[in-house]
């Protein structure tokens, strides 16, 4: 990959952010879907750094998202009044809360990253899944965070601009990191950890770094989500949410940022398209449940993809791995 596409992508996404914040006249339904696309791009691109480029298999991305969502929501709810209630003040608090949420998630990423040093593959997948459940369990027991009732009442500060600006930033950071001289270490860890270590690469550092950076952006995505939906619930960050993100990364092709972003867009729109089935009475009845059961479709897709094209739809040359 040359150096230019990523700059182009960055400019394109920024332009998208600028344009869409100007437009502002789409119907609430499309608004919802488009923000969802932006948030999913952030989640998928950041998970791709961990799963795709570094070759670790994390199944707990929704956990990091939860940390970011709850930290930022708690901050805006608790300290929102400090800067007053003007638009600028609210936005400042919001922005700071997003960053703080991201940092909290990064801290959680550090906590997951360190034990992950001794684990690989299947074990790591289960441990990250476990962390996801632990985070959920802690939130469910934390009264200040609303416990089982969920947390609501945040100001809806998330809009096109913030969502896509952060999406662009995520894509930019991931691509720049991975394509830098320093970042070749990520790919080396993925391609052959033992060989990488023998060549003097500090595999530990790269694995932890991938988790910290990936978790930071997942946390930001959580903050964006919390301040868009204005209500968050621990069950919204369970392992099924993590699977959703993993499916995006795998479908797009692990280690292909463009593919993963495209998959994030596709998989956000797909359930909406499937909903169309309900509008056509002449379609056969067995198609109806497809709207509620998109996961059946996803899981079949996943199995068939692995059997026929394990590198994902768009990950053509990026994933050259020998059998381990």
């Amino acid at each position: 990959m040359t150096r230019h596409p990523k700059i182009l992508l960055f400019v394109a996404l920024l332009a998208c952010a600028a344009l869409s914040s100007l437009a502002g006249k789409v119907s609430p339904y499309y608004y919802d879907v488009i923000i969802g696309i932006g948030i999913n791009i952030i989640l998928a691109a950041s998970l791709n750094l961990i799963n795709g480029y570094t070759g670790q298999f994390s199944l707990g991305h929704a956990g990091f998202m939860a940390v970011g969502a709850y930290s930022s929501a708690w901050l805006t709810l608790s300290f929102g009044y400090i800067f007053g209630l003007g638009t600028l003040a609210t936005t400042t608090t919001y922005f700071l809360a997003l960053i703080a949420g991201g940092l909290m998630a990064a801290l959680a990423g550090l906590a997951v990253g360190i034990p992950s040093l001794r684990l690989r593959g299947d074990y790591l997948a289960i441990v990250t899944l476990g962390f996801n459940e632990i985070i959920k369990g802690v939130i469910q027991n934390a009264e200040p965070l609303g416990a089982q009732r969920g947390l609501g009442g945040m100001v809806q500060s998330t809009n096109f601009f913030w969502t896509f600006a952060f999406a662009a930033l995520t894509v930019y950071v991931v691509l720049t990191l991975v394509h830098s001289t320093y970042g070749s270490g990520f790919l080396a860890v993925r391609d052959d950890e033992i060989a990488a270590e023998a060549m003097g690469i500090n595999t530990t550092k790269y694995k932890v770094l991938a988790f910290v950076v990936g978790a930071f952006f997942a946390g930001v995505a959580g903050g964006l989500y919390a301040h868009f939906k204005q209500f968050i619930h621990p069950e919204g960050f369970n392992f099924l949410r993590s699977f959703d993100i993993v499916v995006m990364v795998i479908l797009g092709g692990m280690g292909s940022t463009a593919g993963v972003c495209l998959a994030a867009v596709l998989l956000t729109i797909l359930p909406e398209w499937l909903r169309v089935v309900d509008d056509y009475p002449w379609l056969p009845d067995w198609l109806r449940p497809i709207t509620e059961n998109r996961m059946i479709l996803y899981s079949l897709l996943l199995i068939i993809l692995m059997l026929t094209r394990p590198q994902g739809l768009f990950g053509a040359e990026n994933l050259k791995r020998k059998s381990a």
Partner: protein, 308 residues
């Protein structure tokens, strides 16, 4: 003290279920070196197999709960699950045998999601009540036993522990004293050498999947005797905990899986009884992380260096 004993009894019954599921994880890991994520869902299918076959089987054995009827339900569910396990391996895992482990792992996650979601579609997402195949009542403990008469032991708990014990003995006999069992052990010791000695790898792997899935099916029925409310996502949590149990005992080690299952069951009961029931899931994962940090080979396992 009596309360502590009570928690131990509850934990033992729950731990037996985890032990049965954990055996499937550990045996498959032994022969294929991969974690069959879909194993917990086979356990769920076992419970549903019981749900659908029990009314007919109970009628065939004279209607109403009976020992013969319950045994028939148990064996049917085990058989159905064995078939399901073998089919899953044949369709999804066998074509991927020489692929990177990550590919197989993702496929297993896909199979797991497929079973859960198809289950929700086919059986309905709401909990179903499991027919009474055994009368699950509390056993009267005579007053003469003093303080022990305050204990509550149910018929269901006794059956669960008893059947688990019988199945463990049967499994031990199969693994140690049959040709297939010997082939299984050979395969998990060294796959290449085993196949050079004439072991038919495909048959042995199918057999392992069948055996593990049958045990998971039995666990599904046994759970339903104690908690007669089953739903298509019941396998997620139980599967994860059984996996932790397998790791605790040393993955790939058969007695270890049984021991780990019992220990996880006991731990969970103690957390529920003495700390806070809402932490029962989180604590199990905390245990997993601790084992993996302190002794990744588990209690009874032997560590295996990675060869380049």
């Amino acid at each position: 003290m009596i309360e502590f004993l009570q928690q131990l009894i509850n934990g033992l019954a729950q731990g037996s279920i985890y032990a049965l599921i954990a055996l499937g994880y550990t045996m498959v890991f032994g022969v294929l070196r991969f974690i069959n994520f879909a194993h917990g869902d086979v356990y769920m299918l076992g419970a549903f197999a019981g749900l659908y076959t029990a009314p007919k089987l109970l009628t065939a054995f004279g209607g109403g709960p009976s020992l013969a009827g319950a045994t028939a339900v148990l064996l049917t569910a085990m058989f159905i699950c064995a078939i399901i396990g073998i089919v899953i391996e044949r369709l999804c895992y066998r074509p991927l045998r020489d692929r990177p482990r990550l590919t197989v792992l993702i496929t297993a996650i896909g199979v797991s999601l497929f079973l859960e979601n198809t289950g929700q579609y086919a059986f309905g997402a709401d909990p179903k009540s499991f027919p009474e195949i055994v009368v699950d009542r509390a056993i009267e403990i005579p007053e003469s036993w003093g303080a022990f008469s305050a204990l509550t032991i149910t018929v269901g708990q006794l059956i669960v522990v008893g059947v688990t014990f019988l199945l463990l003995i049967a499994l031990r006999a199969v693994v140690l004293h049959t040709r297939l069992g010997m082939a299984m052990r050979a395969l998990s010791f060294n796959p290449l050498a085993a196949s050079l000695m004439g072991v038919n790898t495909d048959v042995v792997i199918s057999f392992t999947f069948g055996l593990g899935s049958a045990l998971a099916g039995a666990a599904g029925i046994l759970t339903s005797i104690q908690q007669p409310s089953i739903d298509p996502l019941m396998g997620v949590n139980a599967g994860l905990k059984a996996f932790v149990a397998a790791v605790l005992g040393g993955i790939g080690n058969i007695p270890g899986a049984a021991l780990g299952g019992i220990l996880i069951g006991l731990l969970e009961a103690l957390v529920v009884g003495y700390i806070n029931p809402t932490y029962r899931d989180a604590i199990v994962f905390a245990v997993l992380i601790l084992i993996l940090l302190l002794k990744p080979s588990g209690l009874l396992g032997t560590s295996e260096g990675e060869k380049v």
